[in-house]
């Protein structure tokens, strides 16, 4: 079969970084082609070259046999290539319909927007996927999963025959992922070719036909998935054998560090009570929107609560602001890195140092010498791939940005660490490092909370699991009694029906 897309000998460098080196990539008609590699391997860069956002230093791109290199984003879009980027690109206060038709709004005579036609068109697209979604809803009101779907609908409405999805499942949970896979299969059957980037390797076999592995900007292999296993792919990605995906250690549990009693906030959560001991890792499972993030933000003093008490080391504390929380030894690693975790225009160093400036300064003057040692060490340990700590965070790959957010809190000695989706967008090798770091925090006597939508991660890393449904803790599992089905049942609100 003649490939619809052929990229040949693609190279691309940025100041201090060789992002891609002589990469070949082919896409067959109606194929779902997975693209994997470590953080910073060059996946997103290759796709931005395909979409015309970047021009390659070297190499050729052919669409159905015609060379289109240096054509620019508009031309690539017209030629039928659309990309759903790693970071969603929707306008929050515009409606679903407006977002989908942005820049192509149907007009009536006189240039006025034809709202009726616009909604009808978008409704038709939504119906294709059997979704319950009102085209008039503003985008900020719908869940991340549905936002992802809006991006997909937008891409499809362009009638592209090549669709790139850069980590579409990173912020989705079980059912939503299933939903997305159905959409992908449906598109494939319509003859659309799809490039699919993901760090969740297990899911590749469900949707993809072939896989290409990148490492350090070079193509390592391209093969049908049927001929490979997860360990095969991992070996190609990291260049060595990865012995364990979830490290195991015995950590002695100590006295209770954090206790929450009857935490309530109208419309967000009600009567949430739990406790975490030193040396424990407690997982929080649940669907997107169940209220896990908000519960943690209340504990961290970022959201106000209506009622409820927080105890640290047995003493009640009055937390009214994030500063109070940090002073009481709480750290929160937030879920949305771009909006809440990073300052994109500042350097890796500045971002990683943000939470420890108070501890490394006298009378407000920063002790840079002491601080530099600290930051360099942590950036090294976590493995942030950057040409230098002076690099602006906006130039890092998505996963490396996430590592910077983690660095910020790992450098600060806290008693309680709350991780909200800590491994979102992180590659397999780095995940293991992060799990190890979490364990070392616990080893040190800290109480660790992990909110995660990756069920396997929660099951394997937690000593106990709290399942949250509709703003309440509906079930607690000990490690030895938790199973995938068990947790899922409560997360969906099917079992132990809430009164």
């Amino acid at each position: 079969m003649e490939p619809v897309l052929r990229m040949q000998g693609i190279s691309k460098s940025f100041p201090g970084v060789r992002a891609l080196q002589n990469v070949d990539f082919e896409l067959l008609p109606g194929e779902v082609h997975a693209l994997v590699g470590e953080n910073g391997a060059g996946k997103s860069t290759l796709m931005k070259i395909l979409s015309g956002v970047y021009t390659p230093d070297e190499g050729d791109i052919q669409l159905k046999g015609t060379s289109v290199v240096n054509a620019g984003p508009k031309a690539m879009l017209d030629a039928g290539v659309s990309v759903i980027y790693q970071e969603l690109n929707l306008v929050p206060h515009l409606s679903v319909a407006e977002n989908v038709m942005l820049g192509r709004e149907p007009r009536r005579a006189g240039g006025l927007i034809d709202w009726k036609a616009m909604r009808a068109e978008v409704k038709k697209l939504i119906a294709q996927f059997n979704l319950k979604l009102d085209p008039r809803t503003p985008v900020y009101r719908i869940s991340p999963a549905y936002q992802q779907v809006v991006e997909i609908i937008k891409a499809i409405s362009l009638r592209s025959d090549i669709l790139v999805m850069d980590e579409p499942t990173a912020s989705l949970t079980g059912n939503e992922v299933e939903r997305l896979f159905e959409i992908i299969r449906q598109l494939r059957s319509q003859g659309v070719s799809i490039i699919y980037i993901s760090h969740r390797l297990e899911e590749l076999w469900e949707v993809a036909d072939r896989v290409t592995v990148l490492r350090d900007g070079e193509r390592i292999t391209t093969k049908p998935l049927a001929e490979l296993t997860v360990p095969d792919i991992v070996r190609n990605m990291v260049g060595r054998e990865l012995t364990e995906q979830y490290p195991v250690t015995e950590i002695e549990t100590r006295d209770e560090v954090l206790r929450v009693e009857g935490l309530t906030k109208a419309g967000v959560c009600s009567d949430v009570s739990f406790a975490v001991r030193g040396g424990e890792i407690v997982g929080f499972s649940g669907l997107v929107g169940a209220g896990r993030t908000e519960i943690m933000q209340i504990i961290f003093g970022y959201l106000k609560r209506d009622s409820g008490k927080i105890f640290i080391h047995g003493k009640e504390v009055d937390i009214r602001s994030t500063r109070d929380a940090v002073r009481n030894g709480i750290a929160l690693i937030p879920e949305e890195r771009k909006r809440q975790g990073l300052i994109l225009g500042l350097s890796v160093f500045d971002n990683a140092a943000l939470a420890v400036l108070d501890r490394n300064s006298t009378f407000g003057v920063i002790n840079f010498k002491k601080l530099s040692d600290l930051i360099h060490r942590i950036v090294e340990t976590i493995g942030v791939k950057t040409p230098s700590p002076r690099q602006l965070v906006k130039f890092l790959s998505g996963g490396n940005q996430q590592k910077v957010v983690l660095s910020k809190w790992f450098v600060r000695d806290c008693d309680i660490y709350i991780f909200d989706e800590p491994t979102r967008g992180i590659d397999v090798g780095a995940k293991v490092e992060i799990y190890r770091l979490m364990q070392s925090l616990a080893q040190r006597g800290a109480a660790v909370i992990m909110v995660s939508s990756e069920l396997l991660e929660v099951l394997n890393m937690s000593d106990r699991i709290q399942v949250v449904y509709d703003g309440r803790i509906v079930k607690e599992f000990r490690r030895d009694e938790a199973t995938e089905e068990g947790v899922m049942k409560y997360a969906l609100g099917v079992a132990g029906s809430v009164a």
Partner: protein, 312 residues
């Protein structure tokens, strides 16, 4: 490594533009490079320059302070009142600075605790401070000061006009605070993404307030220089100064959306405005025309800034 002309232009564009203008003026007018003229130009820029250092903090934090000109007038008139009432030099200075600090504090608290945008609050303060100045002075200037106070605007240290010394020290301190202290780093961070700063356990409201206090303080410093130099505090001084001050900051490459910039750029921006004014005077250009030229230069500077952004 080859010399990357484009890169150099984009990084140091404003400094190069400044040099270029100086060279052209030096060629066109023999007076331009005379020591006296140079001192004169810098002394003129000191009034804007000192205020612009404070404004740099505000703009870096993602805010704006429109009240600087009126706050200058208020501080100046109070200092003038104190001076004619026979208050000692330290009393005059302390009183003048206190007025500026209080105005800044009001701005900062209203913005952080009142959650009203900087534009609106400082616009209100612009009117309030001007009104208070008129009330206090009854609309008439207050003039005629004793020796010690005259020194601030008119004195020399080692042959260098004292306002220039103040400007140099202010820029230096501004630079040190921005690069070496928490207040400085947080100012950049707040301008970059305030939500992230809050979620890092930092009391961003405190630091945001401080930024307006600094701006009030530098406005008061300029007030002392100007009042002393004119030997008079007037109810109408400082009108439209906010425009030149903001222009100096923006020409200096500080991003109006916050998070990026430096006081060195601001210093060049302030000098640039002064040099252009001086040059056009030397060349005998119609003052009405001068306004147009200044406007073109401001737009040109921001345009340059956008090129730099795109290069990233």
């Amino acid at each position: 490594m080859k010399l990357d002309v484009k890169h150099i232009l984009k990084t140091y564009g404003i400094f190069l533009a400044f040099l270029l203008i100086c060279i052209i003026l030096a060629i066109l007018s023999p007076v331009f490079l005379r020591w006296n003229n140079i001192l004169n130009v810098i002394r003129q820029s000191s009034i804007y320059g000192v205020m612009a250092v404070g404004m740099t903090f505000v703009i870096l934090s993602g805010g704006i302070d429109l009240s600087v000109g009126s706050v200058l007038a208020l501080s100046g008139i109070i200092a003038a009142g104190a001076a004619t009432a026979g208050v000692g030099i330290f009393g005059i200075v302390a009183l003048g600075l206190l007025v500026g600090v209080l105005c800044g504090l009001f701005n900062g608290l209203m913005i952080t605790l009142g959650k009203i945008t900087p534009f609106v609050i400082t616009l209100g303060m612009m009117s309030i401070a001007r009104g208070l100045t008129l009330i206090y002075s009854g609309g008439r200037p207050i003039s005629g000061f004793e020796g010690a106070f005259r020194f601030i605007g008119g004195g020399f240290i080692l042959g260098i006009p004292f306002p220039i010394v103040i400007l140099a020290v202010t820029v230096l301190i501004g630079w040190l605070v921005l690069t070496q202290t928490r207040l400085g780093r947080y100012t950049y961070a707040i301008g970059g993404n305030e939500e992230t700063v809050k979620l890092s356990g930092i009391n961003s409201n405190f630091y945001k307030t401080m930024v307006y206090v600094i701006s009030g303080l530098t406005s008061a410093m300029s007030a002392l220089i100007l009042t002393s130099r004119l030997n008079s505090g007037g109810p109408n001084v400082g009108q439209a100064y906010e425009l030149d001050v903001i222009a100096a900051v923006v020409i200096g490459g500080t991003s109006l959306s916050g998070g990026r910039g430096s006081v060195w750029g601001t210093l060049v921006g302030a000098l640039m405005i002064s040099v252009i004014n001086n040059g056009m005077n030397l060349l005998g250009i119609n003052p009405f025309f001068q306004l147009v030229v200044k406007g073109v230069i401001i737009i040109g500077a921001v345009f340059l800034d956008r090129l730099r952004d795109q290069a990233n």
